[in-house]
């Protein structure tokens, strides 16, 4: 007999070993997320995918699906709180969507739209962050880093390199690269590496490609992130 969980009242099947987000995605249910990526080891840090499992908040990307779980995902309360968590990310760094070349392709921006975020709500930190433009083909704009570690994981798990890492503690967390000079140009990163393309925001960009796809024709210009996200996984499977 197939094992099942219930999400917002719908019964969906799961396989042993699946996380809640994996089971949900397979069933066509979108759970907002930023640090989660189906191809990499779950991280559980952004907390956007928080769902309520039998009365307790859990990260859907790390928590295993188990028989008998009654899960709330699309509740008003969760969506409102996810919006606030997204606003936290916006005020922590320096995100100016209109002047960012990632606009329209940015998951942070798209999640914010999805959650109906209309302002930043919290006072901005105006953190002083640097740009590392040393690499011939890849740029790091630390202003936009949200510490999701997707570049760290992609470099390690997919590219077989160790280009990126997160260092520091608390609000002083920051992305570092694996070079004695601390500069991207002195790492073994290549523009073809997945790590250079995986950033959900505009923190890691490929140089000279900014407007190849014009604004208005980008991933999230005509579709919400839930549709894009679910389509992506289902295309991969086929």
């Amino acid at each position: 007999m197939t094992k099942t969980i219930r999400i917002d009242g719908d019964t969906i099947p799961f396989e042993e070993g699946q996380t809640i987000i994996e089971a949900a995605t397979a069933a066509g249910i979108y759970i907002p997320h930023l640090c989660h990526h189906p191809e990499f080891t779950p991280h559980g840090s952004c907390k956007l995918c928080t769902v309520n499992v039998n009365g307790r908040n859990c990260s859907a990307c790390t928590f295993p699906a188990m028989e008998g779980q009654e899960i709330l995902n699309n509740s008003q309360e969760l969506q409102a709180d996810r919006q606030k968590i997204t606003q936290m990310l916006f005020v922590e760094g320096n995100h100016f969507c209109p002047s960012c070349e990632k606009t329209g392709n940015c998951q942070l921006q798209a999640v914010a739209y999805h959650l109906n975020m209309l302002d930043s709500h919290f006072p901005h930190f105006y953190a002083h962050r640097e740009v590392d433009a040393s690499h011939a083909e890849v740029l790091i704009d630390h202003n936009r880093c949200i510490f999701c570690t997707l570049c760290v994981r992609a470099s390690h798990e997919h590219d077989g390199k160790e280009v990126f890492a997160i260092s520091g503690r608390g609000i002083n967390k920051h992305l570092i690269v694996n070079a004695e000079s601390g500069l991207l140009k002195d790492t073994n990163l290549e523009a073809t590496d997945l790590a250079a393309h995986i950033c959900p925001t505009g923190a890691i960009l490929i140089k000279r490609t900014a407007y190849q796809v014009p604004i208005g024709e980008r991933s999230y210009d005509h579709q919400h992130i839930d549709q894009v996200s679910l389509a992506l996984v289902h295309t991969d499977e086929n």
Partner: protein, 593 residues
């Protein structure tokens, strides 16, 4: 330096799990971790330089830039503030010509704040090159300044400067009758391992760190895992401000704590144990090593313990200034030579702990009690306390009372009794369980010390009526923002937002909506954070807001709106550039009514 780093790597068998130990040695010698040491160490330990940099930047006691040859840290715990920490730090700063947070130009001395040093009963306290300096006063600061200016090596400083007292005021069930080394192990072997676990179960002992998980169940789960390798860890990273009982237990009852760990090892089948000692307790390190050596001599550690077929040994690992490592999975990460970031759970440490193997992590006091139970049986313990909280609890009492120190009480004792014993007068309230616990007011003194009422890891800070409650809450809230590991968004960003939002109100810049905004933020941080740190970081605000709402309201401006943006502060750079500071160079935020 190259030879030194090489030697360290060899001495540590090139194990990356020993990274903190190696960094401690480099930091002690050079007062920072030089870049060349990182470059040399990475290949020797077969880890990336980024892992080493990450660890250095994570822990407060490691630095990428040089500190003074005498590194002075002054405890920023509220208990130190109550006894004049601020004025003393200012005095020290003037005396030594070094600003807080800086290194003196000649590189001789640096001065900074640090989180609670666990000397709350004998503050104001500090650390010099990691070693505890209790009872600071003007005379001692004069003396210390003189010693530093004359560049006298710390080993030659008068020993009374480093004299840390136990202050056991009220010993009870456990503290009155320390075991003779070997007694618990002998009783356990006589009774049998399974029967001893049954005694532990019957005793009802629950974890003394505060969470209160049943100890026997934890050991059971770990024993039942189908792995051949298991570990025992004693969590001596007591970083909760106001807690110092583990300091005393390890100073005067270490034999029994180690014996408790050995009992656990025998029962679950572990061959290796670790004592994770907080960096602030460096002064106990050598003494504890000697006790371990003694136990090996007595056949109580090592191979064939008391001629049985049990083999077990204990290693001591020093933390490096990170409160979060008191969280068991963060502690395990730290033991593995990494940043102390709490793991995702499940899996729990009993199934996948140190190096992915089943691991029991217990508090110092839990092991102390477990040893006594192994010797005297479960019933002896279970008859004391309440139905759900058996036995006694050891408290660290500090703050506004006549007799700060260590007190042991049967569970179920009322707060009133405790306050009367320690001589608390003109009470405002008590912070129970440290900043992550609960503030109770003088209206609630009939409440009881028990898991079912006031659960606590043992921190008990008393405040009298002359104290400014909002300053206290401010101190606690700053503490959490400083100690957040930064892994998850709600805690990383949220604790700093809480700090700023509270400061806005305390400093008198808040208006009508600001308390509501504060409450909303508290709920968010509490409900969505990854681990206990974030889930409890808003407790000081929430528990005082519930009891003293008028206190917060009284700080608000009588205007409907105050921008979060400080107009006048934003002009500071312009004022400096124009070299002006007259009235016309300042802006009032919003015209007052």
């Amino acid at each position: 330096m190259q030879a030194f780093v090489n030697h360290l790597a060899t001495e540590n068998q090139y194990q990356s799990t020993h990274l903190l130990r190696i960094l401690h040695a480099i930091q002690a010698r050079y007062h920072y971790i030089p870049e060349s040491a990182i470059e040399q160490l990475a290949p020797l330990l077969n880890i990336t330089r980024t892992q080493i940099i990450g660890v250095i930047e994570f822990y407060s006691f490691f630095h990428l830039t040089a500190r003074g040859r005498y590194e002075l840290l002054i405890s920023d715990s509220i208990t130190d503030h109550l006894v004049g920490k601020q004025a003393l730090t200012d005095y020290l700063s003037t005396k030594l010509h070094v600003a807080v947070g800086e290194v003196r130009a000649d590189g001789l001395v640096s001065l900074d704040n640090t989180s609670c040093t666990g000397l709350c009963d004998q503050g104001p306290a500090g650390l010099v090159n990691g070693y505890a300096l209790p009872h600071l006063d003007h005379a001692r600061i004069d003396q210390i300044s003189e010693l530093i200016n004359q560049e006298i090596p710390i080993e030659l400083w008068p020993s009374e400067l480093f004299q840390v007292d136990d202050h056991i005021v009220k010993p009870g069930l456990l503290l009155s009758h320390p075991l003779t080394p070997g007694d618990a192990l002998q009783s356990m072997f006589n009774r049998g391992l399974t029967a001893t676990l049954a005694e532990l179960d019957a005793s009802g002992l629950r974890g003394r760190g505060g969470a209160g998980f049943k100890t026997a169940s934890k050991w059971h789960y770990c024993r039942d895992e189908s792995e051949s390798e298991r570990y025992v860890i004693c969590n001596a990273d007591e970083g909760e401000p106001g807690t110092f009982k583990d300091r005393v237990l390890l100073n005067s009852y270490a034999q029994q704590v180690f014996e408790g760990m050995t009992v656990c090892a025998a029962i679950i089948g572990a061959q290796q144990g670790f004592l994770y000692l907080r960096g602030e307790y460096l002064f106990l390190y050598e003494k504890l090593q000697q006790i371990l050596a003694e136990r090996r001599q007595l056949g109580l550690l090592g191979n064939n313990i008391l001629n049985s077929d049990i083999h077990f040994d204990i290693d001591i690992c020093l933390g490096a200034g990170a409160y979060i490592c008191g969280e068991e999975s963060a502690l395990i990460e730290s033991l593995e030579g990494k940043m102390g970031i709490p793991r995702n759970r499940p899996p729990y440490p009993v199934t996948q702990g140190y190096l992915g193997k089943p691991t029991v992590v217990n508090n110092v006091e839990t092991f102390l009690a477990a040893a006594a139970i192994a010797h005297l049986g479960g019933q002896w313990f279970a008859t004391i306390g309440t139905e759900k909280s058996k036995g006694t609890k050891i408290l660290s009492i500090s703050g506004d009372c006549a007799r700060p120190g260590i007190y042991e009480y049967a569970f179920g004792t009322s707060i009133e009794t405790i306050l009367s014993d320690c001589g608390a007068e003109e009470l405002l309230g008590v912070q129970i369980g440290g900043p992550s616990g609960l503030f109770i007011s003088e209206q609630e003194l009939q409440r009881k010390l028990a898991f079912e009422d006031l659960a606590t890891g043992g921190s008990f800070i008393i405040f009298n009526k002359h104290r400014n409650l909002l300053e206290i809450v401010n101190n606690f809230t700053r503490f959490f923002a400083h100690e957040s590991c930064g892994f998850c968004t709600p805690c990383r960003v949220g604790t700093s937002l809480l700090k700023n939002q509270l400061a806005k109100i305390v400093e008198g810049h808040g208006s009508a909506g600001d308390v509501v905004a504060l409450e909303e933020l508290c709920a968010l941080v509490k409900n969505y954070s990854h681990c206990g740190l974030g889930q409890t970081a808003a407790n000081p605000i929430m528990s005082t807001l519930a009891r003293f709402p008028e206190l917060y309201q009284s700080r608000l401006k009588n205007i409907s709106y105050e921008p979060g943006f400080d107009l006048d502060a934003a002009l500071e750079t312009a004022r400096q550039l124009a070299n002006r500071n007259d009235a016309a160079a300042h802006l009032t935020q919003v015209e007052q009514d």
